[in-house]
Symmetry: C2
Subunit: 248 residues, 2 copies
Amino acid sequence: MLQIAGIAGLPEIEPGTDLAAAILHAASASGNPLVDGDVVVVTSKIVSKAEGRTVELADVQPSPFAHQWAEQWGKDPAVVEIVLLEAKRVVRQIGPILITETHHGFVCANSGVDQSSSGAHGRAVLLPVDPDASARRIRAGFVAAGVNAAVIVSDTFGRAWREGQTDIAIGVAGIQPILSYIGQVDPHGHEFMVQALCTADELAGAAELVKGNLSRVPVAVVRGYQWEPDDTATIAPVLRDQTRDLFR
Amino acid sequence: MLQIAGIAGLPEIEPGTDLAAAILHAASASGNPLVDGDVVVVTSKIVSKAEGRTVELADVQPSPFAHQWAEQWGKDPAVVEIVLLEAKRVVRQIGPILITETHHGFVCANSGVDQSSSGAHGRAVLLPVDPDASARRIRAGFVAAGVNAAVIVSDTFGRAWREGQTDIAIGVAGIQPILSYIGQVDPHGHEFMVQALCTADELAGAAELVKGNLSRVPVAVVRGYQWEPDDTATIAPVLRDQTRDLFR
C-alpha cells in the first residue's frame, strides 16, 4: 500500500534556503519523519526560489517583438521576454499562450515561467537551471542525514491532447523515471503493448493530489513505493528526441 | 493523507461478470472493504472483458489497405483493421504505431486496441463503448451496496511530448475529472497560472503505481481524497476540442 502525505510547516523559502534540512525538519516536526525508501516530491517553485531563479520584471529589457506580442495579447512585455529567453524553440502558440521547448528540453506553456506565488509583484519565477542537479542536492542532504530517500522535482504542465494540467517530474535523484517492460511477456505469452511507464510522472501527479496548487504545501512524501536506488538516474529518458516528437 | 491499495483476488473476468459485486467481494475478502469516499480505479481491460468488447481476429476481414500497411510494418492485418475501425481519424503515424482519435475522442496509440492479456491468442480487447456509462454502472453497484464510492475507468496512454506512458482516466462516475482554479488567486493576489488540474488523470496514475501492468491487480482504491459527489460527471471536459488540439 502507498501512503502519500503533504509536509506542512515549511518556512518561506528564500535564496540559499537548505531545502533538504528544511524538509527533514518540517517532516519530523509534523510527527512524520522521513524514512528510507520514501520518495519526496518537491514543487519546482520552491527549488527555484531557494536557487534564486527569480527575475525582477523591472530589470528586463523587452525586445521590440516582445513588446509587439505582449500588446497583441495583453501580456506584460517583460514576462514575454523572459518566456522567450527561457525557450529553445516555440512549438506552438494558442492565443496568449506560447508552448515552448525550454533549454532543458521540456515542452510546456510559457517556458514554465510563473508570475504567481512569486513572493512579490513584479517578479517571475523561472524553472531551475538543472532540475536533476537540484534533486540530487536535496537527496544528498537526506542521505547525509541518514535517510535514503529518492527526490522528484515536479512542475505542473499541460498536455497536447487532453484538457487540464497535471503535475509531472522535471528532475529526479536516486530513482529512475521510467519503468521498462520491454521484452517481458504477460501470462498469456504476449509481449506487453505497454513497454515503458513514466512512473516519475505518476508519482509527481499522485503527490499533487495532497499538495494541491492552492495550498501552501509544496512537498509531499510517497511511502511504500518500491524503487531501486540508482544515483545515475536523470530525467533525460523522459525527454522525447525531437525526431520522435509527435508534434513535429 | 492518501492511502492507495490494490485489490487482489478478483476472479478471471468473463463477459457478463458483475464488476461492482466482484470488486466489493474481493475488497472485503482481502480485509480492506470499500468505504464511503473511496475512489475506485478500474483498469479498462477488465471492463471491456466484462462487456464482451473483444474481437476474434479470425472473424475480421482486413481491407486491402490494412493488408498493405500490416505487411509494411510486420503487423497482423486483422489487428490493423480493428485499429482503423475504432478510429475517427488517424492523427499521426510513428513507424508501426498509429496515433488515432477514437470514436470517443481519445487520442492514443492504436485506438487503444490491446492484443495482450486477452485471455487467448488471436483475440483483441477494445476500449469500452462508453467508459462513463461503464463507470456509472460500477458506481451504481457500489451505491446499491451502501458504499458511496467514485469510479474511474483507466487506461495506459502515451503523451505527445514525453517518453513513457502513464495511466489516465477514460471514464468517470460520481467525481468530476477536472478541478478548476479559474478566478481564484494566490496569497499574493495573482491569479493562478494553473487554472485547471486533471485530477482524474492524477488519480488514475497514482492507482497504476500499486496496480502495475505486469501484475494481475486491475483495481486499486484511493482512500482519503476529498471529492464532491456529482453524478453529472463525465470525462467530456478532458477531451480537447479539435479546435484547441495542440497537434493540429
